[in-house]
Symmetry: C2
Subunit: 328 residues, 2 copies
DNA sequence: GGCGAAAATGGTAGCGGTACCATTTGGGGA
DNA sequence: TCCCCAAATGGTACCGCTACCATTTTCGCC
């Protein structure tokens, strides 16, 4: 089933069928309708591999995220998908499982599809990949935490360090003095938040009571029991900054089981503002970053680039917001 | 940057480079190494559009889900992605936003990429799409709820109706008499669960106190306040079956705000067994369906098909499990 | 050393579109 | 009516790779 068959049936040249599909207003109305009928009759579906090869326009965008299971990233993807679908782009998704090596491999493989843009989560560690991407001449949008070093082209996100710093400040100003830190398995970006917390506390002459970064990819890791153990080991702790909302919620539930009042005995704060976090009892203090909007903006950068052809790096800091709720 | 340049640099024919990439053991070791060096030197990345066109093997799998924001579906995708990555497939993802029309459009567009398989959520309503898919000769795997009618080829999932029926039975046998039903916005599949509940209750001479199916795509829909209103309108209700775990959790939190004991004043059950659901206070009674495994099995069907070339429909019922916890 | 079969490599054509330029058609103004 | 320019349509080559078959090389064995 090729464009030629359609052309024969419609009594036109193949190129005219191509025009009906791609630039319909360059074809006279009755010709267009005739061709359209032939397309419908034959159930013709254009071969996009051939189109890509010939036109060098793939209408593909590739995105790499650490995981699909975290709502933060699926919301980003949703935002990106919403924008791109309207422009007939297709989305190739890869999850790196928080592994640098997998990220490199996937990025190179995906380049073979000639994507018109590549969306990556955070900075690129691999020098070779960075070179390849830059040389490929495609739009590269790095999302999530903005980091001047390691940005190839454009970026949309927020300042991860500043966000954690602000949360540390919020906790201290709310009167908490013995603050702990805890992260979810695999969350590399959490390290920066830990540093920000420690740095702020140091400014005020304090230090974290504990800084729990679980080993990567430990399948036995149980945040709840780990949390309880940490508090038992550091009973003076009066607040814990959790590197994700889900972790914070689990901590709240663990407290409730133990009969520890939140925030009375222990204050808890998270990161990411899940829809859930405004509804739990108590509601959760957190850092909101509007993941959906990050995805949308990334999509807009890609589309504007494709339309204008201009190649001007665009760094958008969408900021963050400390949402103070009942848990602190 | 083409295979030709690599071939020239390595002093071989283009086809030999192709072999090094696709069937390396058909090339003598020293030739292979020479070619590999040329590939590395030139940073050559094979053009998969050309490869697809020529070989008619795209190494692409397309998947359509109702939404990416629901962890149920992102877990399915994660399972699928894990299996397919090992075989160098790429995943094109589309979300239909629970719209039949979008599903049809996306499916047809994606066919243009010549995917080797297409994974769809649930039955296909559109006759034309069904025909096109069947004619395309690709593997089609329908996931989630198994429905004999509307299955094109293979399927992996569970019996949605039976699951809801079993939950109804659980609630009745636990002694609850006035049972309500509530679904999340957009969840079409919830209708079947409502029917199953109503049918079971009818068998026992009962009827649901309410059956709340919110209007589709109402952005103002607030499950929590809606829930409270429903209970106020039907105060005799002693249990609510929620069509998703998240909805059930929101209901629990609303109860806690109102001072209604769960399950003392009101029992709550969900669907999907989120990781969260075993940790909340109270823990949530729910129906577990192992979404990740559904994705994995779908991937295995696809790969086996690709390897063996056989085309035998494969229907796998992975079942479900009523997980009784504290909330009922 | 010569033979034959298997392994390794190469030449050619074509996958299904679109870019580029050429040609034909249409229509308004002199 | 003719001319000219714009709109509409068509012919040809080529995008980068691989299927298919042909050819060359290798190697075990008599």
């Amino acid at each position: 089933m090729s464009i030629r068959k359609v052309a024969d049936l419609a009594g036109v040249a193949p190129i005219t069928v191509s025009r009906v599909i791609n630039t319909p207003d360059k074809v006279k109305t009755d010709t267009r309708e005739r061709v359209q009928r032939a397309i419908d009759r034959l159930n013709y579906v254009p071969n996009l591999a051939a189109s890509t090869l010939s036109s060098k326009r793939s209408r593909i965008v590739a995105i790499l995220v650490p995981t699909l299971s975290n709502p933060m990233f699926s919301d980003v993807i949703q935002g990106l998908a919403d924008v791109l679908r309207a422009e007939d782009y297709h989305l190739i998704i890869g999850d790196t499982r928080y592994s640098q090596a997998t990220e490199s491999t996937l990025a190179m493989e995906m380049l073979g599809r000639l994507p018109e843009a590549m969306v990556l989560t955070g900075p690129i560690g691999d020098e070779r990949v960075r070179r390849l991407l830059a040389r490929a001449g495609i739009t590269v949008v790095q999302i999530w935490d903005l980091q001047p070093s390691g940005t190839i082209d454009s970026a949309v996100g927020f300042n991860n360090y500043a966000a954690a710093h602000a949360m540390a400040r919020h906790l201290v100003e709310a009167g908490y003095k013995r603050i702990g830190f805890m992260a979810m398995v695999g969350d590399e970006r959490a390290k920066e938040r830990r540093c920000a917390l420690a740095a702020y506390l140091a400014e005020r002459g304090m230090a974290p009571t504990f800084e729990a970064l679980p080993p990567r990819f430990d399948p036995m890791y149980d945040p709840s029991s780990d949390f309880v153990r940490l508090i038992d080991q550091h009973p003076e702790t009066d607040a814990v900054f959790c590197a994700s909302d889900m972790l914070a919620h689990l901590a709240v539930f663990a407290c409730q089981r133990r009969g520890w009042a939140v925030p009375g005995r222990l204050a808890l704060a998270g990161f990411g503002d899940l829809p859930l976090s405004a509804k739990t009892v108590p509601t959760l203090t957190t850092i909101r970053v509007n993941q959906y909007e990050i995805g949308r903006r990334a999509g807009e950068i890609i589309i504007n680039r494709a339309r204008s052809g201009r190649r001007r790096p665009d760094i958008q800091d969408l900021g963050f917001e400390i949402v103070r709720r009942e848990s602190t």
